[in-house]
């Protein structure tokens, strides 16, 4: 499909500036070559910074230092966050060692696992970006389309129990990722010094076209009973249907998404709706067709209202089905049955069906670094030097050391012990189920702390839980520094979304399995109020809960909040 019809969505308002920028960028090149070389500033102009996202990188600055540096007549401490593309979060030990090395050489000496199963590194200076990308390229890692208005890193259930199925599902998620990659050679020319290939506009981006998508686009594949990837938070969520131990195909969920904007009720988190089933051979094709529907109908005037969820809510699920059927040339089958049990990770040692071992390591908020009493980064590096299997990043910002053979198990096990690496079992269940986005000091969108604050809030909540005998009760707690939803707070049984330094909106009542959004409980509160609200609630939960009842369900039954049944009533 070299041609696609021009925008089908009637634009009665002018296009967002970003649309013109993409169109004029010569397929994501802009003036990046020149501005990345300008020696007077470590920043690049806003237009190039927006294009830079398509290359996997956000321009940021150390916000802790912003005011101090202004007084010193120094520009902000500009730096780049680099997010690599790692379909399904699978990485070899060699690649792990490369990431470890570049993070010390060019980054701030830490790595950050993301909620979309990949690595971020922070603190890369402009002048080091090219070397950094060339070095990871040599290890077969790239950052193409890790951010930007394109299909992002494709997620996939980590699923260490069913290794055969995981392998197959992983292959499909990789195929989806490859198929939906932008085809422009801009990345290779700018960063890898490859020759520019002469091309005409028609063939450069056969799927995306020159303006790409109206907004970011996310795809994830879940394998029940685990919903670790939060399948309903994805623009397209696939639910693997396994029958008689064989992968058959996927239920298709559409229109999930976490982001919203404070004070704009037209924006809301939404869960995906399951619209049918596709056989596994059709999953790549279906992905392309759904993505092109969003390409053609998504709102290109208002980026706050541009995600696929809003397109579907505007035109209706039935419309979407018929549009998809038309593009596919056949009708979707009816969805098959499935059941999710949790969206968390299983920690510690697990033996897969093929006899290989997997160890899931708890990593608080996904931050890999060395601390005086906990040499996490060094420990993982030593493991990578000896490991013959893979590493898998989980959607909950943890890591699985996977595919360990029997004869290697002892050695890996010893390294885990030597470095005191933890499966988190000595932590409270609340901490194991906690998740925060990066936020301050690097994220430009942050309004309140998240990664640097949540652990200390959990310390205080643990005391309350222990008093009530709930130390081992799994409760999902999530915090983001802004409403864009990187840590999927709207799917936390207890969720916090930052409003201002030290102030959060508090949300309650999401389901434990990730199929119900939460609801606003208190607005703009600080720690003292958070604790005084939660204390009696936890007390009642301990005494009044039903057998096996989760906290997110209890707060609805106890009438603290009403259940959110659809994103469109999230704000009600």
């Amino acid at each position: 499909m070299a041609e696609y019809s021009s925008l089908k969505h009637i634009q009665d308002t002018p296009l967002d500036g970003m649309e013109q920028l993409k169109k004029g960028s010569n397929f994501l090149r802009g003036t990046l070559v020149e501005t990345m070389a300008n020696p007077i500033t470590a920043s690049i102009p806003e237009t190039d910074a927006k294009l830079m996202k398509f290359h996997g990188s956000y321009m940021q600055d150390d916000r802790d230092l912003r005011n101090e540096r202004r007084q010193q007549k120094l520009e902000p401490a500009y730096q780049f966050m680099l997010r690599v593309r790692l379909p399904a979060g699978v990485i070899t030990p060699e690649q792990w060692l490369t990431m470890d090395e570049v993070s010390h050489k060019y980054g701030n000496g830490t790595l950050r696992l993301t909620t979309r199963q990949t690595f971020q590194m922070h603190g890369v200076l402009k002048w080091n970006m090219k070397k950094n990308l060339q070095e990871i390229h040599a290890a077969m890692i790239d950052s193409v389309a890790a951010c930007g208005d394109v299909n992002r890193n494709v997620m996939c259930n980590v699923n260490p129990n069913q290794s055969d199925v995981h392998g197959e599902v992983y292959e499909y998620s990789k195929q989806i990722s490859d198929h939906l990659l932008p085809r422009t050679t801009a990345y290779h020319e700018i960063w890898l010094d490859e020759e520019k290939v002469a091309d005409s506009k028609e063939v450069v981006e056969p799927i995306y076209g020159e303006t790409y998508l109206p907004r970011k686009f996310k795809i994830g594949v879940a394998v029940p009973p685990s919903n670790d990837i939060d399948v309903f938070s994805q623009d397209i969520g696939y639910i693997a249907i396994v029958e008689d131990g064989e992968l058959q195909g996927f239920n298709v969920s559409v229109g999930g998404g976490m982001g919203m904007t404070h004070g704009e009720p037209d924006t809301y988190p939404q869960l995906g709706r399951v619209i049918g089933y596709v056989p596994k051979e059709e999953v790549v094709n279906a992905s392309e067709k759904l993505l092109t529907i969003q390409r053609d109908y998504g709102n290109r005037s208002n980026r706050k209202n541009a995600r696929f969820k809003y397109t579907i809510d505007r035109y209706g699920v039935e419309w979407l089905k018929s549009e998809l059927n038309e593009r596919l040339g056949y009708e979707l089958e009816a969805a098959r049955s499935y059941e999710f049990e949790s969206n968390g990770d299983e920690y510690g040692w697990i033996k897969g069906n093929d006899g290989k071992w997997h160890f899931t390591l708890f990593i608080e908020n996904g931050r890999i670094k060395d601390e005086e009493n906990y040499q996490l980064m060094t420990g993982l590096r030593e493991i990578a030097k000896n490991h013959t299997g893979d590493f898998r990043m989980t959607p909950n910002q943890n890591v699985v050391i996977s595919d360990i053979t029997d004869d290697k198990k002892q050695q890996i096990s010893k390294l885990i012990e030597d470095y005191g690496l933890t499966d988190g079992k000595h932590y409270s269940a609340l901490r194991r189920n906690s998740m925060a986005c990066v936020s301050f000091p690097t994220c430009g969108l942050a309004m309140a702390e998240a990664e640097r604050y949540l652990p200390s809030l959990v310390d205080k909540l643990e005391v309350m839980l222990e008093e009530q005998g709930l130390r081992d009760e799994d409760i999902i707690i999530r915090m983001t520094g802004c409403p864009n939803g990187c840590a999927r707070s709207a799917l936390g049984e207890i969720g916090f979304i930052g409003k201002a330094p030290g102030k959060y909106n508090m949300y309650l009542g999401a389901s434990f399995t990730g199929d119900r959004l939460s609801k606003l409980y208190r607005e703009n509160i600080g720690e003292e109020e958070i604790l005084s609200e939660l204390k009696p609630m936890i007390g009642r939960f301990a005494k009044e809960r039903y057998e096996g009842e989760h906290f997110g369900d209890f707060v609805i039954r106890a009438d603290y909040v009403k259940a959110t049944t659809d994103g469109t009533n999230f704000h009600d």
């Binding site: 020696p39 007077i40 470590a42 230092l65 007084q71 120094l74 401490a77 200076l125 002048w127």
Partner: protein
């Protein structure tokens, strides 16, 4: 000046009384007295007597009677900082007051063909680096030492050499001139005086010596008669409107004092804004500011404790007999952080410790040099005791604390009534103790907004923007060498200069050491600065400095020079300014197809056209 019957209108009895009285007077007493006498003269005797023209009139007939002694005096100065020029101008004023015809000129501006006509020559010259002449003395120094130098058998001369005893080749250039002028046949009018950094007293002695020698040559008492009246006349107004100067510094209030280096930097560079309100001080971009620092009170107290001195003991500050408490004197008046050979020689008389006299033996020169490096008075007192005599004896051997000069970093038109400085804090560990630079340490650690600092303006005519605002300028200022260029660009923004401008800056790290970064960015965006290249030496494996950037841009640098660009270099003399000079010579060789000699000649020519100016230290 010692009064004699022959050089004054007084009788022997009066001369004796005056010679007894005058040395005991303080500066203030002298000023008061001269004003008093002047007012007596104007109210009593013929008013015109005290005025300049009357002096000339009185003197005129006498010159014709004494034809042998010429009244033509030529003063040539060569100095980097402007101290030489200041003394030259002061001398000139005082000579003119006594009826001499004075020509004052920098050595660079002096037409060498006039050399053979010179009758009375006064040379005031400083020494730089390894005994080298300052920039504006290089050509003249070469000329005088070359074969084209004229015979000077009819000429009389005297040399005032400026220097610093902490350098090995102390006052070398002055000594060279003194020797050469003698070799050329000149007669010494007054012996050469070598000044250390606290040059005021020595320079004064030299001026007075020169004056009295000249006056003696006139052999006419009547001529000298006018002198006191003339001196009084010039001194009297001074009491009415005290002009702030080196000898009478203005206490400027600190408006702001910030560290320009970001967190994690190995450096600390203070941006200091001072108020000049009410001072009447004026300056131009390129001028410097002198600051009298105070020593670190911690170091002073350590010294006093070490020697078990009484901090309240009274000590004499100067020949005028001003007194202060010991602690006050050590804090504000004497240098205690630098050791020099002359100081060690004087101190060796206060100790029986033979190791000190051994160190001072000629064959121990290398040991002495390494001992002096990085040590201070406290080290000396600890190392070579036991000491004889008291605090007063030690203090009597010390040099006065010299003012520090800083290139001004602001334009007066952009910041009226303010002056900004860029001061690099000097901190290092040596011989087991952390040390700080006296003035920079004070700026970094002991001054806050609201405090005041004693300052004066030191004009520097050798570092000035081109008169023509359309002329292109190339500025090279790594580290704190950036200071005057901030003032230049501010000024050019104010006057809307339309010439191109190009700044080369360098330091250790882009992230933390890009001094005034946001200001340059803004000027680049607005066009007040056309082009900027930066070199951060510690950001890459290979160290990159400003000279490398100049070489990388050699074609364009050459084109700018061909277009008439003015070149300015500010900062470290030893390495940076030398390397930049070499880079410029290479640019000329490469781009202009010049031989090395031709390129050097081109640079010399630029310098003579004042298109190659340096403010280096």
């Amino acid at each position: 000046m010692q009064l004699q019957v022959t050089n004054s209108p007084f009788s022997q009895e009066q001369v004796d009384l005056l010679n007894q009285l005058l040395p005991t007077l303080t500066e203030n007493q002298k000023i008061w007295l001269s004003g008093y006498l002047a007012s007596q003269a104007t109210s009593g005797a013929a008013p015109a007597a005290a005025e300049g023209p009357a002096v000339q009139e009185a003197a005129a007939p006498q010159t014709s009677q004494a034809e042998a002694a010429s009244k033509e005096v030529t003063i040539l100065f060569g100095s980097q900082t402007g101290n030489g020029q200041m003394i030259a101008e002061d001398s000139s004023r005082r000579l003119k007051d006594q009826g001499y015809n004075v020509t004052v000129s920098s050595m660079d501006d002096f037409k060498t063909k006039n050399m053979k006509k010179v009758e009375n020559l006064l040379v005031i010259v400083s020494t730089h680096g390894e005994g080298d002449p300052p920039d504006n003395a290089i050509s003249f120094h070469e000329f005088l030492n070359g074969r084209k130098a004229p015979k000077l058998e009819d000429a009389r001369f005297s040399v005032l050499a400026l220097g610093d005893t902490s350098y090995e080749h102390f006052c070398q250039t002055g000594k060279d001139f003194d020797q050469r002028l003698e070799d050329l046949g000149g007669t010494r009018l007054y012996p050469r005086v070598d000044c250390d950094v606290d040059f005021d007293d020595d320079a004064e002695e030299w001026i007075q010596g020169v004056l009295s020698s000249l006056n003696e040559l006139q052999e006419e008492p009547a001529q000298a008669a006018a002198a006191p009246a003339g001196a009084a006349a010039s001194a009297a107004p001074a009491t009415e409107q005290p002009a702030y100067s080196r000898t009478n510094p203005f206490r400027a209030e600190i408006l702001d004092n910030i560290n320009l280096n970001g967190r994690g930097s190995a450096k600390e560079t203070r941006h200091i804004e001072l108020s000049l309100e009410g001072s009447g001080l004026t300056f131009e971009p390129g001028d410097s500011l002198g600051m009298f620092p105070e020593n670190d009170p911690l170091l002073v107290d350590q010294l006093i404790r070490e020697m078990d001195w009484n901090p309240e003991e009274t000590v004499v500050l100067n020949k005028q007999g001003d007194i202060r408490s010991l602690r006050e004197a050590l804090l504000s008046h004497f240098e205690i952080t630098v050791l020099t050979k002359p100081l060690l020689e004087k101190m060796s008389k206060l100790t029986n410790n033979e190791k000190l006299s051994e160190l001072l033996e000629t064959e121990q020169a290398d040991d002495l040099r390494s001992y002096l490096e990085g040590r201070d008075l406290l080290d000396l007192l600890k190392d070579y005791g036991p000491w004889q005599g008291g605090a007063a004896d030690v203090v009597g051997n010390l040099r006065k604390i010299p003012p520090r000069l800083y290139s001004i970093a602001s334009s007066p038109s952009a910041n009226p009534d303010e002056v900004h400085l860029t001061v690099g804090a000097v901190r290092y560990d040596a011989h087991g103790r952390p040390r700080t630079g006296v003035c920079s340490g004070q700026c970094a650690e002991r001054t806050d907004p609201g405090d005041t600092l004693p300052i004066y303006i030191q004009h520097n005519p050798n570092f000035k923007l081109p008169d023509n605002p359309s002329a292109p300028v190339i500025m090279v200022g790594p580290g704190t060498g950036i200071a005057p260029f901030r003032s230049f660009v501010e000024e050019r923004e104010e006057v809307e200069a339309d010439g191109k401008s190009w700044l080369f800056f360098g330091d250790q790290h882009f992230r933390t050491d890009f001094l005034y970064q946001t200001e340059w960015q803004q000027w680049l965006e607005e066009g007040s600065l056309s082009k900027m290249d930066v070199a951060f030496s510690r950001d890459n494996e290979e160290k990159v400095y400003v000279q490398h950037r100049i070489l990388e841009n050699s074609g364009e640098v050459y084109q700018w020079l061909q277009d008439g660009a003015f070149l300015y270099i500010c900062g470290d003399e030893k390495r940076m300014a030398h390397d930049v000079h070499e880079a410029l010579v290479t640019v000329l060789e490469q781009e202009g197809n010049m031989t090395h000699e031709a390129a050097e000649a081109y640079m010399l020519d630029l310098q003579q056209q004042k298109r190659y100016q340096r403010d280096v230290y």
